[in-house]
Symmetry: C2
Subunit: 463 residues, 2 copies
């Protein structure tokens, strides 16, 4: 077989890249568990009709068939068709309905899995990628305070990654009730059309959006101007709420829905200023997601890498799932782990201290005495030290080079009998400094920073 080439859109990492990804996943998992989220996994497939309930995603789904399946039969059995999940929200909603009798509500869960989308791969978009989601779902109702809590958990998780070189994050928040309350108060009934227009602001600019609002949302030029004025408001403290209210008062459009939304957005900004200062920013031009979320909506950018797009998005659904009898409202966010890790690696933001777990390579003096090297390795491992044994009884210089190529910091030499038959003490050499000392496998340990591979910022992080 000729040397294979990568498949576009299906990222894979070399072992050092995987150490970075694994570290990110470990930090996310630990943060989620510290906040009491239970981990679950769902199967990779869902019935196709469930995946297609939202028509807009229909282009992205990978459909499965068994190789030996009769195509005509498969065509007839549309209902039995399976597709790969394209996010973790659809499968989670199904899991909640399927297992509602076994879950305690509000149910807090995290879920870290791969998802697949058959779209054309481009700039940070993949066909296979890892998502890390947290959601809280209630039975019947779900208090607003979870809309404050969940983005702060994500901000904490991402901020924990600052130490390995992840840039600072900014969580941008908006609220469906504010947007809808404001637009309806202005007299604009087609809220979705307004949101679609506002969503194009970054791409086409204010003047073009004003024209769109007139042409497609039925706005007067004055209404369009008010919508753009709202979209221009952003800020990290409570004054942003006053600005929105002042703008609404100026147009005499303060509705109950707007007030409810402003109270929610204000509570989120206020709590965030205490718990994650400088991280959460109200941004009234955020429109993406507002068409299907019903309350708060979140996007997250890496400061200095804004063109990468949002690496963590989500919001509040009043109906995450429903089985007719019961409705389960939810709020959650999803981190695009592959997008984040891909940027960390491609932009050279992180480095790893070594490519293999082993802190020690135990040298082998001769194949006959390999079992003695194995015994040393076993003694070190039993005390939690990662070790491998040299592949062959080559000259010690070659064994040291073997360690050096992998970044293994220590080489262990098993003591041999001297001319008088007295077994010499074992020696361990730090191949970086060349320092070599006598050591016992039952008590020696490497410095803590050398025990496992570590992930570090490639440069000193910016303040």
């Amino acid at each position: 077989m000729a040397r294979p080439t990568p498949l576009s859109g299906f990222p894979e990492w070399l072992p050092d890249g995987r150490i970075v990804e694994q570290h990110v996943l470990d930090v996310l998992r630990r943060t989620f568990e510290l906040h009491g989220f239970a981990g679950i996994e769902t199967r990779a497939v869902e019935p196709l009709d469930q995946l297609l309930r939202k028509g807009e995603t229909s282009k992205e789904v990978y459909v499965l068939r068994r190789l030996q399946e009769d195509p005509a039969e498969a065509q007839a059995d549309k209902a039995g068709q399976l597709g790969l999940h394209f996010d973790l929200t659809v499968p989670f909603a199904r899991y909640v309905l399927e297992n509602a009798g076994h879950l305690a509500f509000p149910f807090r869960r995290y879920q870290i899995q791969k998802v697949w989308r058959g779209e054309r791969p481009q700039d940070g978009r993949f066909r296979e990628f890892v998502q890390a989601d947290i959601d809280v779902v209630g039975a019947g109702d779900l208090p607003y305070h979870y809309e404050v809590e969940l983005p702060l958990v994500m901000a904490e998780a991402l901020t924990s990654l600052r130490s390995i070189g992840v840039p600072p994050v900014r969580v941008l928040v908006n609220n469906r009730k504010v947007a809808e309350g404001f637009y309806r108060g202005l007299g604009l009934a087609d809220v979705e059309a307004v949101l679609r227009s506002i969503d194009k602001l970054d791409k086409v600019g204010a003047d073009a959006v004003a024209e769109l609002l007139v042409a497609e949302a039925g706005a007067t030029p004055e209404q369009a101007r008010a919508c753009l004025d709202l979209a221009a408001i952003s800020g990290a403290d409570a004054s942003v709420i006053d600005e929105v209210r002042a703008l609404a008062v100026g147009h005499a459009v303060v509705s109950d829905l707007l007030e409810e939304g402003l109270a929610e957005l204000g509570a989120l900004i206020e709590a965030a200023a205490v718990r994650a200062p400088g991280v959460v920013v109200a941004d009234l031009k955020i429109a993406r997601g507002l068409d299907y979320y019903t309350g708060s909506v979140y996007e997250t950018v890496l400061v200095g890498h804004e063109q990468l797009g949002s690496i963590c998005s989500g919001g509040r659904y009043d109906t995450l799932a429903t089985d007719g009898a019961n409705t389960y409202p939810g709020v959650g966010l999803s981190i695009g782990v592959s997008r984040l890790v891909s940027r960390l690696l491609s932009a050279g933001l992180v480095r790893v201290s070594r490519k293999v777990p082993s802190a020690v390579l135990v040298a082998v003096t001769s194949e006959e005495s390999r079992t003695r090297s194995d015994a040393v390795a076993g003694a070190l491992r039993s005390r939690g030290i990662p070790v491998e044994v040299a592949p062959s009884a080559a000259k010690f210089g070659k064994q040291i080079r073997h360690a050096d190529r992998r970044g293994i910091p220590f080489v262990w030499f098993v003591g041999e009998p001297d001319a008088d038959g007295v077994v010499q003490a074992d020696q361990v050499k730090d191949i970086r400094s060349g320092e070599q000392v006598a050591a016992e496998a039952g008590s020696w340990a490497p410095p803590a920073e050398d025990l496992w591979p570590t992930v570090l910022p490639a440069t000193v992080p910016q303040a």
Copy 2:
């Protein structure tokens, strides 16, 4: 949407089952890393022609198509078709070829991922399941000692799981060179036909296999008898080697290939007797896998659950991968994690101390003072204690029941001002004993065994 029902062959666990699975995965990962295996992940898909290089697996593959793909076009572009991987060996071989220039050989890697097979689900066989693989692959050559090392790493990993209730394991080993050397020495040239017949021993019995050997492998009744005599040999010490040699001498069939195989098998048994006493057993009737492995072959059963089949299998390939110029021999084993976890759960062998990560529920006295409860939770988390805050300011009795239903052992009450405005000390209650004490969020910690959910044997494990 009506309440969904599970899909046969696609197992999912409730949160407590996932804690068991996650614990198993954590123990495997730690063991593999202590032995210096680097973790990698490969994409879920491979080109269909690569998946079908071994014809025998063709029935099991799930083929992907994009929902919006033109079926005629897809049919024409057979070469571009993708399928889900059915094991982790085929993708690993491709990864090695693709990245050979960036890897240091011998390359030790572990890989823990889901795989998919479109087969009819039955008794412990799934359509989607998790495998945990370790392999060592060399460039050009790979010393035999890795065939001794790798099953012992797996034995250590599985033995580490004894503490949570996994039954003892028995690793059954055989060697292609022993089997082939013996059969060829007897004058049986169609080694594959002999292996296929011997593989049916457990199902159809010795007499039927003797008939098969005559009918399908061209054996005389005496040759068939010798094959069955070989298959009857098993044992955990070096005497098993002598038995095989004595049987061969009796038929005057001691070839160099047989001697080479016996030396290898003997070395494995001898090392295993020291490093994992009682775990590894030579079993000369193992035939499955011998048709494609070229040296050692391994199967692993749970003692007392032998009818579940092998939960960890593998062997030595002389050609794991080749790109024409270079050949990469390998040896590895794969644990069927889902099969193992499914049995642990269905047979009630394990239990978990609680279903959620949280060790503490911080009660909320009133929604106005929720931020004070949040602050306590943050202080505890900053010291590594998993905590959640009560969903509502219900009566304390209800908040305690909320914790009880989840198995959260501690409820924290934030001190309130008394009649004189003096803020009382916080209190923490162990809801199992009812004991309640004053506590500070900056210093209190739960007992170590309550910090995280633990997985325990459901009954005292058998000796």
